[in-house]
Assembly symmetry: C2
Homo-oligomer: 345 residues x 2
Amino acid sequence: MESGEKLSPVTLAYETYGTLNAEKSNAILIAHAFSGDAHVSGEGGWWNGIVGGGKGIDTDKYFVICSNVVGGCQGSIGPSSTNPKTGKPYGTDFPIVTIGDMVNAQRHLIDHLGIERLLSIVGGSMGGMQVLQWMAAYQNRIRSAIPIATTLKHTPQQIAFNEVGRQAIMADPDWQNGNYYDSAGPAKGLAIARMIGHITYMSDTSMAEKFGRRFRADCAPKFGADFEVEGYLHHRGDSFVKRFDANSYLYITKAIDYFNLLNGHSLGSIFSGLKAKVLVIAFKSDWLYPASQSQEIVKACKLSGVDASYCEINATYGHDSFLVETEQEGRLISSFLRSLSNGGS
Amino acid sequence: MESGEKLSPVTLAYETYGTLNAEKSNAILIAHAFSGDAHVSGEGGWWNGIVGGGKGIDTDKYFVICSNVVGGCQGSIGPSSTNPKTGKPYGTDFPIVTIGDMVNAQRHLIDHLGIERLLSIVGGSMGGMQVLQWMAAYQNRIRSAIPIATTLKHTPQQIAFNEVGRQAIMADPDWQNGNYYDSAGPAKGLAIARMIGHITYMSDTSMAEKFGRRFRADCAPKFGADFEVEGYLHHRGDSFVKRFDANSYLYITKAIDYFNLLNGHSLGSIFSGLKAKVLVIAFKSDWLYPASQSQEIVKACKLSGVDASYCEINATYGHDSFLVETEQEGRLISSFLRSLSNGGS
């Protein structure tokens, strides 16, 4: 790991879609966001609007790979996995994970699949950080990159939102310093953390369109959720608890907060030497990873002479736009990918 | 109360500064924001940059009144007060409070002080909501009004932030359904709620200027606060717990969330008939109560033929600007107040 700690053996859960061609030149790796998993396409797939036959990332043409990140809880090794030394779940004995560690594991995966060079690496939010890490660390392994709704470094406000979520989890007595795997776990704290997250993923506009100030039909008790927006947040919090591990929440948000490609480097140096083509996508209403941060990525590319395009989509759904407003996004991605095939490499 | 419930007797804590003139025409009522109190000026006063001798609201000229809101915990009646029926603190038996209830209590206070008409009513944030409520409900009792960094109605995003804070308090087992007054109380939950609040009071820019991505000097344990911004939020959360009651947090945030002057009314009707002069102040970097919401207040005034001016201050401190960047704000207020004296009424 980047921390110097060792982690072994490492299990990585991944899915693939489509067929790898004989030249092994049509592989696209998709990196998931904070709470995502390897299941990117098909029923229940987190990016099914973009990935599939005839879609923006066309699985009839491309061989698509998506793996769950190290530190996660959807099949890859993480704090809920068994520590071979103790026979019990790692809990907080799991080593600190970085975006670099996640990407190093992915690089091992594409080695394992025999792929010398990815046609593209694509991802939004934390997935976008992994894309940027590939652009900085494995320049010869990618022909193109599509970082979406992301940033070169986490800002104090972004760190602050994550920190409040972590505090909510760790304040829950059922967290028990991370050793909760034989009991219910910190459900209340994790739900609150997710509620905070959801506010930052949406926009005031999308919330106003979706809920306005409407009250719920069933009469809520005092300090119950009497506005629809409150009921929605509770619902999202509760359903998250069923599918996500609280310790993974801690590890992955810390990985995001530690992310800083500029650490000691100038803007013009981080992508220097990169031959890959880059498409940067941002969304106007995204206030968690505002368009200005995507423009900074473009600036870093341009300062290094990297071939980069920038598209800002006028969607209202806030940061979640990259997941839910997929029509324009899909068209941009498919025509970018097509241009790669046409131009050769 | 606006809910129909009765509350009696009602204690209101207030402070006054300066001298009421013989005509009783120089009285200015200041309404505090969410966590404020009656102590607006002097050492430790929450708006000492604005209120005092020779300052923006000059206590050498004006008679300044500030009272703690109903539902609060700084001397006025609230959930931590003793319920005369039981001899114990009200807790959640305290009736639901609205901004209208707060203003009605203030109106009783100025009756008690023998003041027929306030020279001005001034306040920011929740204080601004009280100003707007005065403008709608007690038009003959005010000669002018200064709503600052506020809104005609709480939006779903604003409600959502408050709701997460409430959930953090109520998820703390030490909350005990609000009956915690013989024990320590929900300190962890209340601190988390305050941390969320603080993020929304600042701006990404002010956080970046204040902390950047600097790490703290003392090495934090895993998942401790290793960034300075985290340490700051913890500090603000912990110091808030020492001075604020968790149940008051619930009641006052609900009062804010219920606030909606537009409820069933058109924008042009809510201030119709108002003869008072109005100065609306907003801050460019305030994303919790964005300038667009202040512009909506101006629009409501103009549609009713109310004499309203609008000033947007280019401060970087986010919503907290109204409390901390007081130089321009003070000048705007003092010249507005001077114009009232010159023009008569």
